[in-house]
């Protein structure tokens, strides 16, 4: 069956199986920043933004995404330039193996879209569904706070 949707502001038509999860469809179509983790909605590696809300794509039927507006990590950069959020993750060393990073970036991006002035607890809450098994949470949280600060200055 056909699935019409928008991914990173581009209109797309994907050929899908009714049984596919959104994770399957994203990876099959080249959006490999969307990572395959626990398959049970716990680790957050597969996070994508669907109509402004972060969801676990591993337990999200792709058919739910007809006409949806989807953001993946590939969509955070503009013309090859990384977003402030991505820059801050690099600058502050908020990356170890990198597997959880796209999901963390999208959870943080979804937060900042809704709340440009997050408090520390808001950032911790927003990232609480993204597991990092290299045991680094402080730096990602600091990076999101720093990005929010710089984005305020940029406006």
């Amino acid at each position: 069956m056909k699935l019409n949707l928008k991914v990173n502001s581009e209109n797309k038509i994907f050929d899908i199986d009714v049984r596919d999860t959104l994770l399957d469809v994203m990876r099959a179509n080249g959006y490999t920043s969307v990572k395959h983790g626990c398959e049970t909605g716990e680790c957050g590696a597969c996070t994508v933004i669907v109509n402004g809300a972060a969801v676990n794509s591993c337990i999200y039927p792709a058919v739910k995404c007809e006409d949806a507006d989807i953001i993946t990590c590939e969509g955070l950069e503009t013309n090859g330039k990384l977003s402030i959020l991505q820059e801050k993750f690099i600058e502050m060393g908020a990356i170890q193996c990198g597997y959880c990073t796209p999901g963390m970036l999208l959870s943080a991006h979804a937060l900042l879209m809704k709340n440009p002035n997050p408090k520390l607890k808001d950032v911790k809450d927003a990232l609480s569904g993204n597991f990092c098994r290299c045991t680094g949470y402080k730096k990602p949280v600091d990076a999101v706070m720093a990005a929010a600060e710089q984005m305020k200055g940029a406006k």
Partner: protein, 292 residues
Amino acid sequence: MQYIRDLKKYHWPKGPQDAVRLMMQEPCAEIIAGGTELLVSGLKGKEVNNLIDITRAGLSYIKKDKKTIKIGATTTISELQHAPVFKDFADGIISAAAAKFVSVQIRNAATIGGNLGAAMPSSDLAPVLMALDAKIFVCGKENKEFAINGFYISKRKTVMAPCEIITEIELPLACGDDKTGYAFQKIGRTEMDIALVNGAAAITINAGGEVKNARLSLGSVAPNTIRCLEIENNLLGKKLTRELIAAACDNIAKAIDPKTDVRASAKYRGTIAKVIATRLIEEAYIKAGGKI
């Protein structure tokens, strides 16, 4: 990974009656809303080849009128958490419970109806809705209405018959001059984890500080969320003190039936249940304006 190997058709009913009709037509069909329960553990041992998605069936809303607040079954946990009406209503316990509901990603997909229908003893919403004396509206061959106290029969079992779906949850608004205080508590191993023990309370007092009405509910200490009627009765007509609350909760072991699992032992749950119950009563009583 394909989430249901034998899935043949995915349906989008336009309304609840349409969904019920499809359920009656398709013998191996399941209802799906957010899918966070169904696709993770709700399909075990079931043969399913049709899914009926009710998230476009007009059941996502929060409406307030003079006497009630009505919540559509497919309203997401995030919507409950952020709804302006729940910031103040009942001392914010709906918002507080929604905020403790696992992760943002799950809250954005999971729905109130799905959570109640899944009938897990660890639900954070069920104790809150019990303390608020919610009603649950169900659509099937005929429309039915249930008080949430009595809705659960056992773990993963509700009073609902096959081919019935939850359509709406109704909360009564407090009326009269008496003051009611509300409290919600959850003990979990981590922020993300489901409750080891949770609960909620609503305590109404008169001008003299005497308890006129009390509702206390606990989760994760029995096969499903329970009301603690004996403890409630022990509080009625009294001005509360710490000693009195402790005495009222003395026999809590009779009300609960905790189990040992990977998260906690039955003994631990039993001990914590008493702590949570006393904290809930005290907090709700103080919020109602009572002095301890």
